[in-house]
């Protein structure tokens, strides 16, 4: 009913190729964006902004980056937290040595360094695939963990190995307030998501998908694997690197290598798998599922007034969360985004079953 498309005619190629060809989708996405930009910062409490929305937005950026690599190009990576760490520490070192540089450029440099690291650790992908590649990218995780713990130059010789970010400001404009942080992350997420969505619809994305679906066939029709795979690693790591810099500068403020441990890599991969491989919407859903759901579950017993010990609440959180992961993967192995796509198809045909 909501999705009745009668009367919507596409009269030009441009209209036919639009990101959201259906009017209802366009309206919905615009409404969500307007709501997120103009309403949420005024309505949401500081707790909601700083502790829930900011980490969600940042990890959604990382999930978009990882989805380009895993979902679109088919290269499994277990080193995403390492690329986040590269972005964070590169950005930190830039601010230490060039404190006058605009923070936007600092984040860009962080992203570029992560892209370079991604290309280097993406090289094995030219020879190996699947599980073997996952293990090879795991090397990135251990290598960068080791590097940032052991080489004091990266942490500016901090005795404890923990570093902290400078005050946040761009063009003399401070954005330290919770709403400022939220809007900054939201703006970057919007740019990233729009760029990624268009990238995967363009030549680059089609090359990646050809590579993912059958690399030999892709090679035969003239796609260079070197170019395709390394560009995917570079762009994906670039986005993940920026999200790492945001995680460190905007969310944590002060961090140690443990903030980018292997657990983070797994969490990012789960986001992409549960959200939906090869779907930008899936990145948002997956990031929300992995970051917000545990915190929500943790607060349910208290909010309902059920007296449970802290440890029991925490155990329940783990169990419910795990059970939900299994549940959603059984119900729809292709992820939450696919679940939404099915609902949408049903709505378009409603009230007729066929």
């Amino acid at each position: 009913m909501i999705y009745r498309e009668a009367g919507q005619f596409r009269t030009s190629y441009a209209a036919d190729q639009a990101v959201f060809p259906v009017l209802q989708d366009r309206v919905f996405v615009c409404a969500v964006a307007l709501f997120a930009f103009f309403i949420v910062p005024f309505l949401a409490s500081e707790y909601l902004l700083r502790a829930i929305l900011v980490p969600f937005l940042i990890l959604a950026i990382a999930a978009v980056g990882l989805n380009l690599l895993v979902g679109y190009c088919g290269q499994i990576s277990l080193g995403s937290a390492a690329f986040m760490a590269v972005g964070a520490y590169a950005a930190y070192d830039v601010t230490v040595h060039l404190p006058w540089l605009n923070l936007l450029f600092v984040f860009l440099i962080g992203g570029l360094c992560a892209a370079a690291a991604g290309v280097v650790f993406g090289l094995p992908s030219l020879r190996i695939k699947g599980y073997y590649l996952a293990v090879a990218t795991l090397a990135a995780q251990f290598f960068f963990d080791w590097l940032f713990i052991r080489v004091p130059w990266f942490t500016n010789y901090a005795s404890s190995g923990s570093v902290s970010a400078p005050p946040l400001s761009i063009f003399g404009l401070r954005f330290d307030s919770p709403a400022g942080r939220y809007l900054f992350c939201l703006a970057l997420l919007t740019v990233t998501a729009v760029a990624a969505k268009n990238l995967v619809r363009a030549r680059m994305g089609r090359i990646w998908m050809a590579m993912r679906d059958m690399d030999i066939a892709a090679e035969i029709i003239g796609i260079r694997p070197l170019h395709a795979k390394l560009s995917a690693f570079a762009i994906s790591s670039f986005i993940i690197g920026i999200s790492g810099a945001l995680w460190a500068f905007v969310h944590l403020g002060s961090w140690e290598p443990l903030a980018f441990s292997i657990d983070r890599s797994f969490a990012l991969l789960f986001m992409v798998v549960i959200g939906g491989l090869g779907s930008i919407l899936g990145c948002f859903l997956g990031a929300a599922f992995i970051t917000i759901l545990p915190i929500f579950l943790n607060q349910v017993p208290t909010a309902l007034g059920i007296p449970l010990s802290t440890a029991m609440i925490s155990h329940l959180e783990f169990m419910t969360f795990g059970a939900l992961i299994v549940f959603f993967l059984i119900v729809e192995p292709s992820g939450l985004a696919r679940l939404w796509a099915i609902c949408r198809e049903k709505l378009r045909l409603w009230p007729f079953p066929h």
Binding site: G253, S254, L258, A311, S314
Partner: protein, 437 residues
Amino acid sequence: MRGKISGILAVICAFAATPAVAQNEQFFPSLVYRTGPYAPNGIPFANGYADYLNLLNARDGGINGVKIATEECETGYATDRGVECYERLKGKGPTGASLFVPLSTGITYALMDKAPVDKIALLTSGYGRSESADGNVIRWAFPILGTYWDAGDIQIEYIAKSLGGWDKLKGKKIADVYHDSPYGKEPIPVLQALAKQHGFELELLPVTHPGVEQKATWLQIRQNRPDFTLLWGWGVMNSTALKEAAAVAYPRDKMLGVWWAGAEADTVPAEDAAKGYEALALNPSGASFPVHRDIFAQLYDKNLGAADRKEVGNVLYNRGMINALFATEAVRTAQAKFGNKPLTGEQVRWGLENLDLTPEKIQKLGFAGLLTPLKVTCANHTGIARARVHQWDGKEWKFVSDWIDSDQKVVWPMVEEAAKKYAQEKGLPTDACSKAS
């Protein structure tokens, strides 16, 4: 379906509705870790902290008539969850949270920049950032009882004493098995400075989080046979280290743990392997102090205790109690100035800056023997930096030394220098105390 929807709505409404806030309450947030690899150490501390707060409510009706409200939030020792908990709890209670006890170096570091903005004090007794001892620069963090640098200095002092003098340290080999995180790395500058000064050789052996895999480390110790081994572990790392030491037959009485590696949670799981192991102690263990009598009578006899009855009096349980004592006494001190009402973070900070625990006061609170007298000032946030060494005899911890004070001639210049560097990075003044009244 309708039932499901209404159920979901109920949850959402419960979230949206803010619970009615009692007006005459001081809110004490509690960051705890009762799950994960660090839970064995997190649980007794959290129980001690909770029990002492509950005792004040049950016995005295709060602090000078102001009831104590408290809420726990599980961090799992993870920094990001700790930050989430901090944000969740900081606005609760009529005046908001006024004081946090993170019990994690990582979370302390992450809160270091947030707390001054929110005007909330951090009580980091025996851990945290060492330069926060200098209150002239870092105004909101209070490492009362000493920092990691004090602990490192006391360890070497004790070794020198047991050898019979500082000159005997020359040419000795001391290994440092440490948790590879800000916690374990923090004391290294002090240990290195002392090594240079007294001519002993320091061997650094990092152990990766969470510390269950230490075979390689202890093989190195078997090869090099250091004269002493310092242990800077937390959680399962400590008991694992003791078992591995037994496996390579390294004498346990040559191992000296820091005050975070000397509790029942570290030695009991290692069973016989822990016998003879020594560690620093900020406070004694045992449940025979006057305050425990009240805790048993007011809480455990009425089934209101947080822990198992037999766990009351563990090293970390007592330390949790002492932390709660610092927090509540800071509030009491501040109440003398600001009146008997719920206080803000700024007022509680004033209370911490003027915390003066005299022997009479400690006696009155029932902590005689648990705590030495101390006096915190605006400029010096540690108040006192001393520890005793205790040894595990297979059943309990027994003191084997008298109080050892950390040598402020060594530690304080380093604190001042680090604080100066911190002030430069953050653009903070270095003379906040002389300006403040």
